[in-house]
Symmetry: C2
Subunit: 152 residues, 2 copies
């Protein structure tokens, strides 16, 4: 999968999941895992409601995918996430040998580890392809609206 239309198709699915998270008052992030053009797992952030620090959309989707394919290696899989993954989720994506990461909105913070640097320096012999900026505006709007509502 290498064309923008495909990327947008699956990112829209991830966006739908992010909106489900928002409806449950969670930070709106959604993730979809695709292999051979088929969605094999998807999830949204459940940290707040389930009260578990690791229940980010990506971790939950990776666990579902592993259980589905009965393998801790998700070779040939692409993960679509509405937001650039945190350190934990980047580590999980790399540990699972996911082939491609496609994310929507990027996180730019001074001196914070980017997904690119984490992928390069995780210490595993695994080349993760990273594509960013797919439906970026929609993805970031969801998150910024969520936090501005929280502040009010």
């Amino acid at each position: 999968m290498t064309n923008t239309q495909d990327y947008e198709f699956y990112m829209d699915k991830a966006l739908e999941l992010a909106k489900k998270a928002r409806a449950k008052d969670e930070v709106p992030v959604g993730a979809v895992i695709v292999r051979d053009g088929k969605i094999i797992a998807s999830a949204f952030n459940k940290r707040q409601n389930r009260r578990v620090a690791t229940y980010h959309a990506e971790i939950l989707a990776i666990e579902k995918a592993c259980k589905k394919v009965k393998d801790f290696r998700l070779n040939g899989c692409t993960i679509f996430v509405t937001l650039e993954p945190c350190v934990m989720c980047m580590g999980a994506i790399i540990n699972a040998r996911i082939e491609t990461l496609v994310f929507g909105a990027g996180i730019n913070k001074d001196n914070t580890l980017s997904s690119k640097e984490i992928a390069e320096r995780a210490g595993l012999n695994h080349n993760l392809k990273i594509v960013s900026g797919i439906r970026a505006k929609k993805c970031s709007m969801l998150v910024s609206e969520y936090f501005s509502q929280k502040r009010n």
Copy 2:
């Protein structure tokens, strides 16, 4: 908790768990989470047997601890791990706001992200105290013996 004897006591518990992992032909890593001098959760690596990429000792212990205290924040907790955590587990430790990380054997690989650098650059306003080298020899022996047996 700041004295070496305490550190060694809990690291020995983590070592026992690492040996349970070894008995199940898993990479021998164990983790114990302590709050107010009480072990609130513990786990060993189950990645191979359960076939889930995220089932490292630390992730499993953090999930158990969160469920036990019904909070995604593990304030005031110390995690003891026999091996320096990978990127994913470091991210989880930071996301969970664990106060102190005590690990046994370090991982030194050129240009690979160390636990220290990850803690400093994870982008969360959280100061993780890191103590290393507790029962280091025992912890690293377990892992190196496991891999040398695998090679034979």
